[in-house]
Symmetry: C2
Amino acid sequence: MSRWAIGIDFGGTAIKAGVVSEERGILIERRVLTDTASGTAGIVAQLSGIIADLYRKASKIMEPGDFAGAGVGAPGAVDVDNGSLSYPPNLPGWTVFPLRDELQKCLMQNEALSISVVLDNDANVAAFGEAIYGAGREFSDFLMVTLGTGVGGGIVLNRKLYRGPHGTAGEVGFMIIDFEGTGIHGGIRGTLESFIGKKGIVAHARQMIDGSSTGSSVGKLCDNDYTRLSPRHLEYAAHEGDEVCLAVWDRVGSILGVGLANVTALMDIRKFVIGGGISAAGNLIFVPALDQLRRSTLPTMHEGLELVPALLGNKAGMYGASALCFG
Amino acid sequence: MSRWAIGIDFGGTAIKAGVVSEERGILIERRVLTDTASGTAGIVAQLSGIIADLYRKASKIMEPGDFAGAGVGAPGAVDVDNGSLSYPPNLPGWTVFPLRDELQKCLMQNEALSISVVLDNDANVAAFGEAIYGAGREFSDFLMVTLGTGVGGGIVLNRKLYRGPHGTAGEVGFMIIDFEGTGIHGGIRGTLESFIGKKGIVAHARQMIDGSSTGSSVGKLCDNDYTRLSPRHLEYAAHEGDEVCLAVWDRVGSILGVGLANVTALMDIRKFVIGGGISAAGNLIFVPALDQLRRSTLPTMHEGLELVPALLGNKAGMYGASALCFG
């Protein structure tokens, strides 16, 4: 028996979907742009179409009796028990919607398929993917941090997802590390994301470039149009040895370390899996982050502190969503 | 059957010990000063003597067959599995010591008693006491915060203590809320305790009194010797309507709210039980704390946010330690 499932990473921009074999990993993959304009009904139809298509293709190569269902990781707060998705930040107009049940209904009505769907938050699903197939395999307890446009998190305790009493746990980007800070994110002052989300990094870099007496080589990478400055430019210039950009990443890593220290103090979690597009900066972030994490925690908590890069890249969601079906 | 146990709150200053009936609560109580000068062996002998004495007294009124053991809450990091206590902050020279086993051995050798001992961290034990007998009874998930000389915490998830992978969870006082702040505590900059531990509160109050153009009435409470200023003075003056002291407590509550917001963001915990000597300031702290907690969390997390005062006062440790024995 080789169980298989459909894993879906449903984002505000794109839907990434895959047929995943429990033994052999991803067998078939799809990526389509999210039809955000068509509202909840349109998105349900779109997801249902993708699932049905993948199911039919996979049924030719896999045993239908070994099919374990479809898992969906979605942006926003998910009530895992009742299968609803609330206020996904990048899907305007969406409030609280019973996505799981509507998706099952649509699969039945439009596609005549009886497929069991499980729904969870995207950050949780990515963490679970890393836990089962990726960098978290060796850790029974860890926090996965996703550094991208936002700063997200998913918590794994004792090899299971920790969702919290209301399913909203892991919002590490909303932890406050400077309550009198100037940056505001989601209406909250001084959050981790206000400092090291994409916007915060770029804004700080521009300040440092403006304030630098020696100047930075990063300007030529964005044609001296600093409105186009991106983390990728900062990463490239730092690897080229640009002092200002090196200092920017040093600060990003250090501030990440402060955030992680709070997780260690509160939850006694000492293993961190770092993913997301910004984490491509690698040791530019990892080295100062681990250093700051150690300086910001009690010596009695230093044993076992570890930061590792995520291994599954943008496939963590597909893997994790399918793994939800394998239970 | 009415089970009973001995519950001990072992602190750096005093040992509070009680005979606790599962049904009827505390039956006998003791409080003695901790013999800190005599080292680990002396303390083991002291604890053993107290347990033996209470056991013998209680055996006359309770059924020895219903005795469930002795529970000890201790300051410092406790490894619950191997029963060791590490680096208790107020017991100089104490490193890592197998307190549980040594205590059982001493009870056998000195007192000829075979008593099963369980050991846990004092903040955890107090939280568990509130969970079983106090303000946490109605909550399945909550954080207990102890506001005193230090700021401690104990986490209850699903009605059980959450100790974390290494037993050091709940160190809410070491969460960093102002990473560029000036206050340092345990070598770490900008922790919650650096702001609202006893020292931080008094230091800030003195700054505010010095900087006040109208002055404060609190001076007369400490004979204008501000080195003697205590939270109790600040509380009294605030209740009398002193503006400066009211502002001090407003800030203490607000900063507590920031710390709690981090707990909500990360763990999705929305219930907080607040105890410890400083919490006697009551609504001077609670009102601004809840207000700030709401302003510092996402609207999707506001449902169910609640702060309540601890109910067991300085008996939470005795209750919780005995409750560990009832399992």
